[in-house]
Symmetry: none
Subunit: 126 residues, 4 copies
DNA sequence: GTGGTCTAGACCACC
DNA sequence: GTGGTCTAGACCACT
């Protein structure tokens, strides 16, 4: 059984959810380099969605360099996890900076933000 | 002339941009309580977009309790700025917490986050 | 009537042909900046192919930054023709270099290649 | 061990890569006339690919007149290297001409092309 | 009206 | 068996 799941009722397109989902699995090392992804039809069956939707997601992942496909064999995880991870961190920091700017504009104290950070980082390791 | 502007190329719907835009103007006190908003057709002309889009945005703002409309007169800003501001701050803090969780999961140091905060808060007041 | 055409019997996917086709029209200035492209259904009718195929092509063109789409309005040509043109030239030169290497390996005289170039460049301006 | 290699990740079908690969070996004289090619199963084992793929490639090579097969014995290189070479050169020149036309249309100077040629031909003999 | 997404089902080349 | 392409037709949000 797969650990992948999507919410068809979300406003975010299923193929985007799927893309992000798999990206995270690769980032966390749950999907290891050169490991084969489930086939489009298989996964479509498990998630009860259309194979084409899976296909679109796989195509996007390949475009992003996270997976590669071999004709007649299937799709596999690339082994450049490091660069993907760096890119992901950079994107996160940008989003973070943007929201901090918003917070500043709304006159939220920076101490408040730091306190929130402390809370989250001191939570039990999941 | 209004200080309101929208970007039709953005992936975010125009009516959402407009809603957020006006919400900010109220928050910053640029639009004061009981001040009248520009008419639907007027604003549509200025922004070169469809009046229905403006209408949808005004409806959303009324639903959120930020403005009220009087039949045959127009739309006006409500005076509960304080509660709107609180709500806005709360929403910001939730988004902030969520992204901090993501950062933690990606093993970004909390010191890094605090440094980013310092940078932004020490920028010149715009 | 449109100047766009595709060959459904080619080995190259229709959506790729279409993408390349439109890219050339932009490059040659036949499609001008901010000009609207034909709608997916319209073009699908003209070319007697499925709207989804057009859609895939438009999506790729948007990803390449050659066009942009506005929700509910349509697709339009971007105005960064210069950068697209440069990128295109660079790609052409790479392909050219690669084939010259092959020619060298096959012991084709460089004089022969230059002669071919002369021939083509002295042809009547189309 | 053979000097043949293929890249299963490439978008180009493996059997095509293989065909081209062997063709080059014949052209360069590494595979000499009447020399026997590795057996289908042997080569399949070495390259870790499906025997059917090798079979398809050998069939294509035979169709092109580059090798011939003897029932129960195996496949052998034909000795009409000259004609193959000529055909290969002709194909190269056609591809070359086509790309030069594209370059002309993109207003790349012919001097630029000649310079590229000079560079490549003056490189150290590999 | 537009583009964007999704489904269902087909066909293809490749392995 | 696999992924890749294409068709037909539907639904959605946005304008």
């Amino acid at each position: 059984m797969s650990v992948i799941s999507v919410d068809p009722r979300s406003r975010k397109p299923i193929w985007e959810q799927l893309t992000e989902n798999i990206k995270l699995l690769v980032l966390r090392g749950i999907l290891k380099p050169d490991e084969q992804l489930p086939g489009v039809r298989t996964l479509a069956g498990e998630l009860a969605i259309n194979p084409n939707t899976i296909q679109k997601s796989y195509a996007e992942l390949e475009r992003q360099g996270i997976i590669y496909s071999i004709q007649g064999r299937g799709c596999f995880v690339t082994d450049n996890r490091q660069s993907i991870e760096n890119e992901h961190k950079k994107a996160l920091e940008e989003k973070f900076s943007k929201i901090v700017s918003d917070a500043k504009e709304s006159r939220i104290d920076k101490e408040r933000l730091c306190a929130l950070i402390e809370n989250i980082y001191s939570e039990s390791e999941s």
